[in-house]
Symmetry: C2
Subunit: 202 residues, 2 copies
């Protein structure tokens, strides 16, 4: 129940309550889904009370939007970490892809949240897909201006390709693992894991 440590500066965990709430919400949303996660569970995970969540975010819906915004920001930062001028133009695209892939591989919660949010289909409450698409479209424009990206296809087609290639494998992988595990008893479990291939053709 201790709030910010009395005398001395920032708490051991140097995040503000607002940020801790957002992080805890992302983790729980990713684990169990938004609907199945109560504000009380978030509060307890963040070490605060429900009242503080309401104070900072007002409603659960606003909190969810803040979580999504934080995810989009993470993508932005990651892409921006490989600026256009940093290396030969023909390597920029690959370098950015790799940076995003690495960011995602160290943030299981983001992948899990995105899987739920993007595959929901009809539920489309926020505009997460819009924001990520715009981010991706901006990248395509950058690369086109630098003369790297082909202009044979439309921007839309290229965005679909980028996003599906990046995310498709991550989304489907749990299913592959789950099915593989189903047969670990019969065969040796130490076999080469199946590799997913996800692409789109226009």
């Amino acid at each position: 129940m201790a709030r910010r440590l009395p005398g001395a500066g920032p708490p051991a965990n140097d995040l503000t309550g607002k940020a801790r709430i957002r992080n805890a919400a992302l983790d729980l949303f990713a684990e169990q889904g938004v609907d199945a996660t109560s504000l009380r569970a978030i509060a307890s995970a963040a070490g605060v009370t429900v009242g503080l969540i309401v104070h900072h975010y007002g409603t659960k819906e606003v909190l969810r939007e803040a979580v999504e915004l934080a995810i989009v920001d993470r993508f932005s930062e990651t892409i921006a970490s490989v600026p256009l001028g940093s290396r030969p133009v023909d390597q920029i695209a690959a370098a950015r892809d790799e940076a995003v892939a690495e960011m995602l591989s160290t943030n299981r919660a983001i992948v899990d949240y995105l899987r739920r949010a993007l595959l929901d289909g009809s539920a489309e409450r926020g505009d997460l897909v819009s924001r990520l698409s715009q981010l991706s479209a901006q990248q395509v424009h950058d690369l086109r201006a630098a003369g790297v990206a082909s202009t044979k296809h439309t921007v839309g087609d290229q965005v679909v390709t980028i996003m599906v290639r990046q995310l498709g494998r991550l989304f489907l992988q749990p299913l592959v693992d789950r099915i593989s595990r189903e047969f670990d008893d019969d065969m040796g479990p130490s076999r080469t894991p199946p590799q997913l291939i996800v692409d789109v053709s226009h």
Copy 2:
């Protein structure tokens, strides 16, 4: 509020209350997810009261299992509709795949439910994946016994391949459509839709 029509035989809708409840549950579970679907919503969609759901299924969890069992049964029936002796052995596999694909294409609710259930990842409450995997494994055994299926790979690998090929595209398609729609404003909306490619390599 009318129960089974008083004098004359079965109701216009010739399904029993128990089956109507199961069907309504599948539809709503697929649309909004299990957690977000209340028993009252199911009851209202099925034209019965909550009490009847409890009478027939006891708990929501049992109802969910009944829904999943019905899905697995549907797969079984579909595969069985193309018996081993019905045509040249080398066409059996393709014919069965096509039958399943057609069944899925006319049952959006099944696809939507499976997408949620199979991609949930950790949530794995029931053993839906187990049951579908076993069904698939049985099919592989049949085809091997008939000398059609290769024995180069393990059964597990072949099951993964079958299931991911069948389901992967269906699961990812909403994402592709959603992103494509994002760019319909910029480009003409009547373009050739992107085609998904999902496969696994071992």
